[in-house]
């Protein structure tokens, strides 16, 4: 059993557990009221989306501007399933169906577009996300431009926590495996990676599909939280929102994405008071952070919980 959990995972689990208990307590004491609970849901969804995108952009080095497209696939799939089956089972089924649908589309879109690099790839993924949006805009089952209404709400803090914590743990595990290292090597030097026996196309598509899978989960939770879905919610700006979180937190840092998602959500909530000036302050802050910390808040490092708790790790254990 001792071998099954490295100290780092163990402490991450403790942190996630404590965060669950603390927020559950605050909700039950009504310190986090219904209004803040929406922000909380948004934070969780953004964390899931950003961690997934970080795997594609931060770790594998493939610049994608189409993450909102996969989110919409998850959202619509979940909405359709839960509407016809309004139970918790239906919600879970819808969420996983959404994630799997998004992953399938991730593979389908990834195979042709991932031949491209850098800015060409960004434009291609942007185009693909637009195609998905236009298709939803014209399909009957998705309600066209009017979208879907009255999607049963099943998201609550325990479910949000479950999916967020699951995403963080799974992506973190993946990164610290040989498959994850294969993805990172593509970011570092594609030609060298290929010469070391790594099928770069396969791992790029794999990273893309995994990113899309988690975007699908994020979308499903979004649908369940906000009752309504419209194709316009998943436009270009939504993709940019997620990308901003990844870049601000640091490309290749999971804790960075988590911190940035929380910071940006808190910031937007507090800036509500400034009405018109709100977006200017928000943008100005982003510019300031990028000038003084171009590599992102966490760069490519992770918050090391073991150091935080002053637990001595043996040499070599850190690499696990």
């Amino acid at each position: 059993m001792k071998k099954m959990l490295s100290k780092n995972t163990f402490i991450t689990l403790i942190c996630l557990g404590v965060s669950f208990g603390l927020i559950q307590l605050l909700i039950s004491q009504n310190i986090i009221n219904a209004y803040y609970q929406v922000t909380l849901a948004l934070i969780c969804i953004n964390i899931i989306m950003a961690v997934g995108l970080n795997l594609v952009t931060g770790f594998t080095g493939q610049f994608s501007l189409g993450h909102a497209g996969f989110m919409s696939i998850g959202a619509y799939t979940c909405a359709i399933v839960t509407t016809s089956m309004p139970t918790t089972t239906g919600f879970l089924l819808g969420t996983f169906a959404g994630a799997i649908m998004a992953a399938i589309f991730g593979i389908l879109i990834g195979i042709p577009t991932l031949r491209l690099r850098g800015d060409y790839l960004a434009i291609a993924t942007l185009g693909m996300a637009e195609i998905i949006r236009i298709i939803f805009l014209n399909m009957k089952i998705t309600g066209g431009a009017a979208g879907l209404n009255g999607i049963p709400k099943f998201t609550n803090w325990p479910w949000l926590w479950f999916f967020t914590a699951g995403t963080i743990l799974l992506v973190n595990n993946f990164i610290h495996s040989s498959h994850g290292r294969a993805c990172i090597s593509i970011r570092e030097d594609e030609i060298a990676a290929e010469s070391m026996g790594i099928n770069t196309t396969k791992y790029k598509v794999m990273a893309f599909a995994i990113g899309a899978f988690f975007a699908g989960i994020g979308g499903a939770l979004y649908a369940s939280t906000f009752f309504i879905l419209k194709p316009n919610m998943f436009g270009f700006l939504k993709s940019i929102d997620i990308l901003v979180i990844v870049v601000l937190g640091g490309m290749g840092s999971i804790t960075g994405s988590v911190i940035a998602a929380i910071l940006l959500a808190v910031l937007t909530t507090y800036l509500q008071a400034f009405t018109a000036l709100r977006m200017i302050i928000y943008a100005a802050l982003l510019v300031v952070v990028m000038i003084f910390r171009p590599q992102g808040l966490m760069a490519s490092k992770e918050l090391d919980f073991t150091k935080f708790f002053r637990i001595k790790t043996k040499d070599g254990e850190k690499v696990e």
Binding site: I184, A192, E194, M206
Partner: protein, 261 residues
Amino acid sequence: MPLLSVEKLTKSFGGLTAVSNVNMEIQEGELVGLIGPNGAGKTTLFNLLTGVYEPTKGTVTLDIKGHSREIQGRKPYNITKEGVARTFQNIRLFKDLTVLDNVRIAMHQNIRYQMFEAFFHTFGYHKEEKRLIEEAESLLEIFNLTHKKMELAKNLPYGEQRHLEIARALATKPSLLLLDEPAAGMNPNETAELTDTIAWLREKFNLSILLIEHDMSLVMKVCERIYVLDYGMMIANGTPEEIRSNKRVIEAYLGEDVNNA
């Protein structure tokens, strides 16, 4: 059958024929040198052998343990899987990763756990990761890099980066190792040390080695046979002594004799 046989290999870039009608053979366990003036097409030949470029014409046949297959035009990762590993002329390490990770990545093609186990860190994952670390460390030990395993590759001194590249290539478990100017930028002491290491590696790992090198002291000392390229054509091949006195080779390096011209 020789381990590697190259027949009439040609690569043209538009009007320029960088490698033309090259024939070459490497026997099992042989240490062969490839020399030639700058721009002769040595690295292009390497890139053809490792799949970075697709040849315009010709075949490359690999024969490992009696199993022969043509590898020209295959993808690099595929050729690496068949047992050909390489280093690069201008070091291509994964700079922002640790020394250990550089070696572990090269071991990826032989790992024994699946995607599912990677996500859930199963028992099989931990067992396999432990094996990876042990094997990587034993490779690093050869080059005296074990104590630097957690350092980033970019922070290593130049000579050690070259060593790490060889260690990384060995991690793919090759039968044929291609070294592209392993001694470039090294001082005479380091070159002498590298010469010994290369000879030792061949014994220890049962390797065949093809190396491009400009440092003649290294080539003449370790290589059993030498191929000479000039303007994309193989102009000579033979033992170091034969090459040393070969008129065409001297002409290629120093220019034609004035009296003959």
